[in-house]
């Protein structure tokens, strides 16, 4: 029999890369989501146009093409990125574009009357956004953000395209070294599912904590 513990270790190494990509990609996606999502609601046309262009472009083209561009074409233009940086950039920008729509939708779904209460209390635009609108909108965004994070986790499996040794990639290596297809793939399916479950559990916990005493915000 082949050296399974060695190969399992290889897959776990890949799992580490997958986790790293997911975490760093999520952070970038979160930042982009707020920047672009709030940008779309800006009073200034130029900001709105820029945010819209970013969102439509990254939601419109496929993640494969984006990764490819970041990895193979940006260097030609003088931007040298490590594979990990390229992966985080591609995934983060892509998922961030989807997240931006979530941010915009949540902020817009906070009733007009909350904005009016802010005006009546003489809060400034940013004060109202920061203290009244965003805290409420955040709770609405959370579940979708959780889903987006899982989408990002799953999308990490395509980074093998840019020769990043993530979990799927390592499973393929194990497969070609051992000639066994079933075991490595079954292993990573379970690992992916465990990670996805961890994400949804975390988001649910966070949601419950934030929603405490706040029934009625969401109807």
């Amino acid at each position: 029999m082949t050296d399974w513990s060695g190969y399992l270790y290889l897959i776990l190494q890949g799992a580490l890369v997958t986790v790293e990509l997911t975490l760093m990609g999520s952070v970038l996606a979160l930042i982009m989501a707020f920047v672009a999502g709030l940008g779309r609601l800006s009073r200034f046309f130029a900001v709105r146009a820029l945010a819209t262009a970013y969102i439509e472009f990254f939601r419109g083209t496929s993640i494969f093409v984006q990764l490819f561009w970041v990895y193979f074409v940006l260097p030609l233009a003088g931007f040298e990125l490590t594979p990990l940086q390229a992966g985080v950039l591609g995934l983060g920008l892509n998922v961030g574009a989807y997240g931006a729509e979530v941010v915009r939708g949540a902020v817009q779904s906070i009733g007009k009357e909350q904005y009016e209460a802010c005006v009546a209390l003489n809060l400034g635009r940013w004060q109202g956004m920061r203290h009244v609108i965003l805290p409420q909108a955040l709770l609405l965004m959370l579940p979708t953000f959780g889903n987006n994070a899982i989408e990002l986790l799953k999308a990490t499996s395509v980074v093998s395209l840019i020769s990043l040794a993530d979990m799927t990639f390592q499973a393929n290596i194990v497969r070609s070294q051992t000639g066994n297809t079933m075991l490595p793939f079954a292993t990573i399916l379970i690992l992916y599912f465990a990670m996805a479950s961890a994400i949804s559990w975390g988001v649910r916990t966070l949601e419950r904590r934030m929603a405490r005493g706040l029934d009625g915000v969401r109807t």
């Binding site: 009357e113 909350q114 009016e116 209460a117 005006v119 009546a120 209390l121 003489n122 809060l123 400034g124 004060q127 203290h131 009244v132 805290p135 409420q136 709770l139 005493g213 706040l214 029934d215 009625g216 915000v217």
Partner: protein, 261 residues
């Protein structure tokens, strides 16, 4: 007699092609308690929202406390007001909404302290002290740490009143503050407002369908229809001896629907 605190001079307001207000003028004296009544859609809410700068006017002038609301004087010229001017003017005005519009993610106390701390830079301790006084006045001091979702409608509305008072406005606007409440809860809110009217010399504008309350509360009643003041006068005059046919018809309907006048 002193100068009016609110001076509305032939203002116009349309929503799309629909003219809600067309050349409306009125004045309110400092400390006056004014009730606006009239059928649904007659523009009562619109007037309050315009005073709170939640809607813009299409024409005319409004002066608050001697200063233009929607215009700034620069070198003798009247220019459209910018955000800074509006912010300064809004300090004079507070508003309480039909649906309370409390901030659901903040506890009662934070709802009241938020605006003074942010807009006036009041330190937390001072803001909380004042907030507790106000909450005490509306009978909500014991719920200071509750979240709005844990309150009844009447309690929410009392907190909303305290919140508006926290900025010490000279003018308070009330838009049907009891119409979303269960009948049993209406009274507690009206009691607070009676107390407020008796204890302060704030100017108050009240839109209501509670004719009985309007009668007791107001120094003067304006009856609106289709964006115009059809009739105005002392409550007794309006409610007991309406002169205009339209006013009579309206009051008759309201009475038939089971409301006391």
């Amino acid at each position: 007699m002193s100068a009016p605190i609110i001076k509305i001079d032939s203002i116009a307001k349309s929503f799309g092609a629909f003219k809600v207000l067309d050349g409306l003028s009125m004045q309110v004296m400092p400390g006056e308690k004014l009730a606006l009544i009239g059928p649904s859609g007659s523009g009562k809410t619109t007037i309050l929202r315009i005073l709170m700068t939640l809607e813009r006017i299409d024409g005319g002038h409004i002066q608050i406390d001697g200063e233009h609301l929607y215009h700034m004087e620069r070198n003798g010229q009247l220019l459209p007001a910018d955000e800074r001017h509006l912010t300064r003017m809004r300090q004079k005005i507070g508003m309480v909404f039909q649906l309370f519009n409390l901030f659901p993610h903040k506890c009662v106390l934070d709802n009241v302290t938020l605006a003074p701390m942010l807009t006036k830079g009041t330190p937390r301790a001072a803001a909380e002290k004042r907030a507790m006084e106000l909450l005490d006045m509306v009978g909500m001091a014991d719920k200071a740490k509750n979240m709005p979702a844990q309150l009844s409608g009447g309690q929410k509305q009392r907190v909303a009143i305290a919140r508006a008072l926290a900025l010490s406005p000279k003018i308070m606007l009330f838009d049907e503050v009891t119409s979303a409440l269960d009948p049993e809860l209406v009274e507690e809110v009206l009691n607070v407002m009676r107390k407020l009217a008796a204890e302060t010399d704030m100017t108050m504008l009240l839109v209501t369908h509670e004719m009985g309350f309007a009668h007791d509360f107001a120094d003067r009643v304006l009856f609106f229809d289709r964006g115009r003041i059809v009739e105005e006068g002392k409550p007794d005059e309006i409610f007991r001896h309406p002169k205009q046919e339209r006013t009579q018809a309206f009051l008759k309907k309201i009475i038939a629907a089971g409301h006391r006048v």
